[in-house]
């Protein structure tokens, strides 16, 4: 995760927003296949192979399940293949099922890479920029929740050896649980008082609070944002102009339009393949650099002298 993930969180957010909009808005088989292809390729580069294969297997089953459900319930379409319980099963409905399933799996894989790449810090940062107060509140919550969970476990274990749960009656157990919960509330109140002190001591509440983040907005971020917007607008333009129109019912459109507007599909392809290309670029760069480093003339000279 060196290439794409190192872009500014805003860029990443923007990218995922665009890709998801396009994937969910345009029910064109070519676009969906491109989107699925891009999401899979990218997930392959950032996830361990084993996990990728496991996920692929699981979602393939889901894909089939969704694909065959549609023709069972939808009976539109003019090409009837056979009857099931007196209901017609049509070719159009089957194909539409596959298209929907493709979209679903593509969205799922985009979301998977999204959660890998937009870690909580980045997520918080983007949120904090939109609503400044929320950044600190969320950050404190992410700090406190695990602490709270751990304390519950600790009290639970301690009380076990004090015989709190040793009685076999269910009411006793429930009452025991309530008592533990009560004590945890006291504990969290107590620790929040201390935390408030620590915050005050470090100047919390002074009027001119700023928001710090580790992320720098670089030139290349600006560049990629420009490129993203160009691609996005071209695609939206084509969508509005009905270049991506594709009918499933009553009959399936042919691909003459697709050939005619090939140029616009190229943009979709570029957009969906972008993260993968970034990773690849970075990989190539590193192999290249490594060769350069190991064949560094400076070191050779030193060895000679």
């Amino acid at each position: 995760m060196r290439g794409f993930a190192t872009f500014h969180p805003f860029v990443l957010f923007l990218y995922y927003a665009m890709v998801l909009i396009i994937t969910m808005l345009m029910l064109h088989p070519v676009i969906l296949v491109l989107s699925l292809f891009g999401s899979l390729l990218f997930f392959l580069t950032i996830a361990p192979l084993r996990q990728f294969l496991l996920d692929l297997g699981f979602y393939f089953l889901m894909f089939l399940l969704v694909a065959i459900t549609n023709p069972l319930f939808v009976h539109k379409g003019e090409t009837i293949l056979f009857f099931l319980n007196d209901d017609p099963v049509t070719l159009e409905a089957i194909i539409y099922g596959f298209v929907i399933a493709t979209m679903l799996v593509a969205v799922i894989f985009w979301s998977k890479s999204f959660s890998e790449i937009l870690t909580t810090d980045k997520f918080l940062y983007v949120f904090g920029k939109v609503v400044p107060k929320s950044a600190l509140v969320l950050s404190m919550a992410f700090q406190f929740i695990p602490l709270f969970k751990r304390q519950i476990k600790k009290v639970h274990e301690a009380q076990k050896t004090l015989g709190l749960y040793t009685s076999n009656s269910i009411t006793d157990r429930i009452l025991g649980g309530i008592r533990v919960f009560n004590s945890i509330l006291t504990w969290s109140l107590e620790s929040s008082i201390h935390r408030a002190d620590a915050m005050k001591a470090r100047g919390y509440g002074l009027p001119k609070r700023s928001n710090f983040s580790l992320y720098k907005f670089e030139k290349r971020d600006l560049g990629i944002i420009g490129a993203l917007f160009v691609m996005f607008f071209v695609i939206i333009f084509a969508y509005i102009k009905q270049y991506f129109a594709f009918n499933y019912y009553p009959a399936i459109s042919d691909f003459t339009d697709t050939k005619q507007y090939f140029f616009y599909f190229l943009f979709v392809f570029m957009l969906t393949i972008l993260p993968f290309m970034m990773e690849m670029k970075e990989n190539l760069l590193w192999t290249f650099l490594k060769r350069k480093i190991s064949a560094s003339p400076i070191r050779n000279k030193k060895n000679v002298s």
């Binding site: 404190m140 992410f142 602490l147 009290v155 015989g163 620790s191 620590a198 001591a201 609070r209 710090f212």
Partner: protein, 542 residues
């Protein structure tokens, strides 16, 4: 009271719990001033503290508290470091530079991106210190910052304070109860007693002056081992402070005719093992490494066995397995001749086994100690009168009657420990397991704990203690064991155990081992020095 602290001074404040140390320290930090009536004025750099502007007050006076966890505000280390500067409204590039600088100074850059939950206690406290220092304070106030840390982390923390004071000239005011490590680096020491400064001196003079003031003062026991030994053996005003100086003192002043103390160790212990562990193997999950790797241990009835070991070595896990909270995947724990797994849980934790966890606050459920004790009645199924009787018996034994009405969280570390132990005793256990019973306990309360342990032992209770605290182990144990690499590698009576160790041993032993054998506590060293007597030429000089 009146006192002044010069720029660049390292001042240590100590005193019994409840003497007003923390209150005094909090008064020096305006944001934390406790509620109540205040008279008198505090000046900072010739300006009244209450007239400072908010920004200066937050920035220039830093404060670090006792509990590492509750001071951490945010979820990421880098964000925590930036938090104070964010509050002051510093721009991003300033924050970036300062955070980078401080992370480097503290060696935090290795865990800069981590979640604050993942850090160890020592790291958390270091982070708290760093996130105060990032604001570039002129004065640093610390309220018992090492009391919740293990000895190694505590030492590291104190070393950093020393470095800050020595290399950067930072003014430091430290409230501390473990004086062993801070005495050699302090410039001045204040002793507080019921809200008054009763003594103010250089650390090397404190021992002598306190003895002259009141030679049965409780706080004499809280002084570093070297000072205590010196106090008993000499009337000179300047005491040694480090092991090095202590060693020299003994070599120069005392004969070595008698090398060994004749001990009248009563081995009247019942030699029948009450608890035996045979070849215990344990791990938490299938894919995780073994924590216990063939532990063998046997504990006799009425014995206090201490298991020492480093941080994260698995001592706590061993206690959990021995007390039946976790089950070993190989090997057995045998309790009174019957396998632990054969006991019903309800029978096990009533009148047989009790475990005092490291975090004693987890023991308490109710809002007063008495109500909390009454909880046990639900387990023991006695009559109300019987319960009340046993509560008062225990309260009497531990002399905690005056605490019964208080909220458990309001007690001091030492009191919490004793009160929690009291709750366990209501279950009338035969074996008590204790996990780090001296954590957060001051020196004087430690002695009370020791007396209590001896009382319990006399009543026939068996105790298994897991601890880092070498000094305490030397005081209480019948036998000590060193837990290392998943097993107990050596056991023995404390005298042999510590005398055989070169590094892992008590300060008293380090001071005296070059001249005497088997002296592990300050009392041992004092006794043997008195027996040997002062060297001849010494007497001529004085």
């Amino acid at each position: 009271m009146s006192f002044s602290i010069k720029q660049g001074e390292f001042v240590v404040i100590f005193g019994e719990s409840g003497s007003g140390k923390s209150t005094l320290l909090r008064l020096l930090k305006r944001e934390l001033t406790p509620h109540g009536k205040k008279e008198g004025v505090i000046y900072y750099k010739n300006r009244r503290l209450d007239e400072l502007d908010d920004d200066t007050s937050a920035r220039e006076i830093g404060f670090v508290m006792q509990q590492p966890e509750v001071q951490i505000v945010t979820d990421k280390v880098w964000h925590e470091l930036a938090f104070g500067l964010e509050n002051l409204g510093e721009p991003t590039d300033v924050i970036r530079r300062r955070v980078g600088e401080i992370a480097n100074f503290f060696g935090i850059h290795h865990w800069f991106h981590k979640h604050t939950m993942e850090l160890s206690g020592g790291q958390k406290q270091l982070l708290n210190l760093a996130s105060v220092l990032v604001m570039q304070p002129e004065v640093l106030l610390l309220d018992e910052p090492t009391s919740q840390l293990d000895p190694i982390a505590a030492e590291e923390f104190i070393d950093i304070l020393h470095k800050l004071n020595r290399d950067l000239g930072l003014t430091i005011v430290l409230v501390e109860h473990d004086l062993e490590k801070v005495f050699p680096i302090a410039d001045r020491v204040l002793l507080l007693e019921s809200g008054n400064i009763i003594l103010e001196a250089k650390p090397e003079e404190i021992g002598g002056k306190l003895k002259r003031l009141n030679d049965t003062h409780n706080m004499l026991q809280a002084l570093p081992t070297v000072v205590r030994i010196f106090n008993e053996l000499s009337d000179q005003p300047i005491s040694p402070l480090t092991v090095k100086e202590g060693k020299r003192f003994i070599t120069e002043h005392f004969n070595d005719h008698i090398v060994r103390l004749e001990t009248s160790e009563t081995s009247a212990n019942d030699e029948t093992p009450i608890l035996e562990a045979k070849n215990l193997w344990f791990r938490y999950e299938r894919n995780r490494p073994d924590i216990l790797r063939g532990v063998n241990v046997s504990v006799n009835k009425g014995e206090i066995v201490t298991i020492l070991g480093g941080n994260g070595s698995g001592k706590t896990t061993l206690l959990k397995v021995l007390s039946g909270q976790r089950r070993a995947y190989r090997g057995n724990v045998v309790l009174k001749g019957k396998k632990l797994t054969k006991y019903k849980q309800s029978a096990l934790y009533k009148q047989l086994i009790a475990l005092l966890p490291q975090d004693v606050q987890t023991i308490f459920l109710k809002s007063t100690v008495e109500e909390d004790y009454a909880e046990i009645g639900k387990v023991m199924n006695g009559t109300k009168e019987a319960l009340e009787q046993s509560i008062h018996k225990i309260a009497n034994l531990l002399s905690i009657e005056h605490l019964l009405e208080k909220h458990p969280y309001d007690l001091s570390g030492g009191e919490q420990q004793i009160v929690a132990l009291g709750k366990l005793l209501l279950l009338e256990p035969e074996i008590i397991f204790l996990d780090e019973p001296t954590k957060g306990v001051d020196a004087y309360s430690k002695l009370k704990l020791r007396d209590l342990f001896m009382d319990l032992k006399a009543q026939g209770k068996t105790m298994v203690v897991v601890t880092h605290d070498v000094e305490f182990a030397a005081l209480i144990s019948d036998r000590c064991g060193l837990f290392f690499d998943g097993e107990i590698v050596s056991t023995g009576k404390p005298k042999e155990f510590f005398a055989n160790n070169n590094f892992y041993t008590t300060i008293a032993n380090r001071i005296s081992r070059h001249q005497y054998e088997g002296c592990v506590t300050a009392e041992d060293v004092i006794d043997i020095c008195k027996l040997n007597g002062v060297k001849k030429h010494e007497q001529n000089i004085h």
